[in-house]
């Protein structure tokens, strides 16, 4: 009963492969959920009632059903209707859709926080709705919502471990294999906890820096 971490040394490369896959899945799913989140945020702030309701239903549904249920729905359900995609793609799709629900809330809050006067200034200067949205609304909203979006990403990294249940060999999936090969599950999972915690810590550090950098010009000058 001694904690011996050296037994993990031969497996570090294998675990790193898993970590890389986790990073890939999360990077793709982050892009997916921010894009989806933007579209849904637009829908939720739009004047059209049906669009509004549809967007709300999506957010409400995917925030209140466990991710593993969503994942199995896609993983087992899609082949049923003739869509054959691999575990990696299924994982990215499921994470994007579930992350999109959270991202849309973050972006929506950013949009709602924008001063009406700024939009009016754009309107009277003749900018089209599309230009106003892409040049004014979105850049301002993204700057303010970068922190909540960071939380979405951190949550996504943690949630991605669940993809191991659909045979995707990301970090947790590979760790499971190492644990059963070495018969040392305690060591493996302790290290895994620390690795995930450090990973998310680094990400949150990065988010803080990004937030500061993006908003560097919007800080009030101290006179």
């Amino acid at each position: 009963m001694r904690l011996d971490l050296t037994i993990l040394a031969p497996h570090l490369g294998f675990l790193a492969e898993g970590a890389l896959l986790t990073a890939q899945v999360c990077a793709l799913a982050l892009i997916g959920s921010v894009v989806l989140g933007m579209l849904v945020a637009i829908a939720r702030t739009s004047q059209r009632k049906w669009l509004n309701r549809l967007a709300f239903a999506y957010v409400d549904l995917f925030r209140n059903v466990p991710f593993i249920v969503q994942l199995f729905f896609f993983y087992y359900g899609l082949p049923e209707i003739g869509i054959y995609i691999d575990a990696f793609t299924t994982g990215v799709v499921a994470l994007s859709i579930s992350g999109g629900a959270y991202a849309s809330d973050a972006i929506r809050a950013g949009i709602l926080a924008i001063d009406d006067g700024i939009i009016e200034a754009a309107e009277v200067s003749g900018l089209s709705q599309g230009t106003t949205f892409t040049r004014i609304v979105l850049p301002i909203a993204l700057r303010t919502s970068i922190r909540p979006l960071g939380s979405v990403l951190i949550n996504m990294i943690l949630t991605s471990s669940i993809l191991s249940t659909i045979t995707l060999n990301e970090l947790t999936g590979n760790a499971k294999i190492v644990a059963s090969d070495t018969f040392r599950p305690f060591e493996v999972y302790v290290v895994l906890l620390v690795v995930y915690a450090s990973l998310t810590y680094l990400v949150s550090l990065g988010i803080t820096l990004l937030h500061r950098w993006l908003n560097r010009d919007m800080q009030e000058q101290v006179n």
């Binding site: 309107e123 200067s125 003749g126 900018l127």
Partner: protein
């Protein structure tokens, strides 16, 4: 010509504009006075199409602001400066100014920027082109706001209490620029509380009271005993404002 004809506007049950008529000819400076809640700002917001009219008609060089197809043309001809500046916080002073000329008027970027820099220089901000709104003082922000409106080369400049959010020193920075613009023949519709200043630069002064346009007179007549001052509400307003 900018024409306001029998315009009515209500918010819910509150009537804010009640049959207002006003004509502004090119080259004129028209100041709109009135106590707060008299409908002055709403009138400006109707002219630039931010508020929909309940009745009446507003045309800017014959383009009807109530018709979606003509509103864009009408807006190209008028530029608005806001009380709270409403600058785009994520863009530099120069970007604030050049955005609409590049996007709406399709001006080449280099040209738009050269003109933007020239405008900034003309209001004494030549060295702050790359500063962001948060890095500027209130007076500087409003000067950028004026440049942003002028960059579209509007035929009519609409000014909505542009100095109300500024302290006296900054107010004079901004008023100096407006005086210069007036002298150079810029057409202006000027909603303000600065009575003395309005008297110096305006050709005509209009007085609004509870959504009704009570007085519309050339400046000298407005301040004369038998002209504007003959109206009890105007006299009352002027004496109150001067006391403050």
């Amino acid at each position: 010509m900018l024409k306001v004809e029998n315009v009515k506007k209500a918010f819910g049950g509150t009537i804010v504009l009640d049959g207002v008529n006003l004509t502004v000819n090119p080259g004129e400076v028209v100041s709109i006075l009135g106590s707060s809640g008299s409908g002055k700002s709403t009138l400006i917001r109707c002219i630039n199409g931010l508020e929909k009219l309940n009745a009446g008609r507003i045309t800017v060089d014959d383009f009807d602001v109530s018709k979606p197809k003509e509103l864009a043309e009408a807006r190209k001809r008028s530029g608005t400066v806001f009380q709270l500046f409403n600058l785009y916080p994520h863009m530099s002073a120069l970007q604030n100014i050049t955005l609409a000329p590049i996007e709406v008027l399709k001006r080449p970027k280099a040209e738009a920027e050269a003109e933007g820099r020239a405008l900034l220089a003309s209001v004494g901000l030549g060295d702050r082109a790359d500063a962001y709104p948060a890095q500027l003082s209130g007076g500087q922000r409003q000067r950028v706001g004026i440049c942003r409106a002028l960059a579209m080369q509007p035929r009519y400049l609409l000014l909505d209490e542009v100095t109300s959010a500024l302290d006296p020193e900054m107010t004079s920075e901004v008023l100096d620029i407006l005086a210069k613009l007036a002298k150079s023949g810029t057409t202006m519709v000027f909603v303000t509380h600065e009575i003395e200043f309005a008297r110096q630069i305006s050709n005509r002064i209009v007085f609004l009271e509870k959504g009704v346009l009570l007085v519309d007179l050339p400046t000298a007549e407005f301040f004369s005993a038998e002209g504007g001052l003959a109206q009890p509400r105007v006299a009352q307003f002027l004496s109150k404002m001067r006391k403050d």
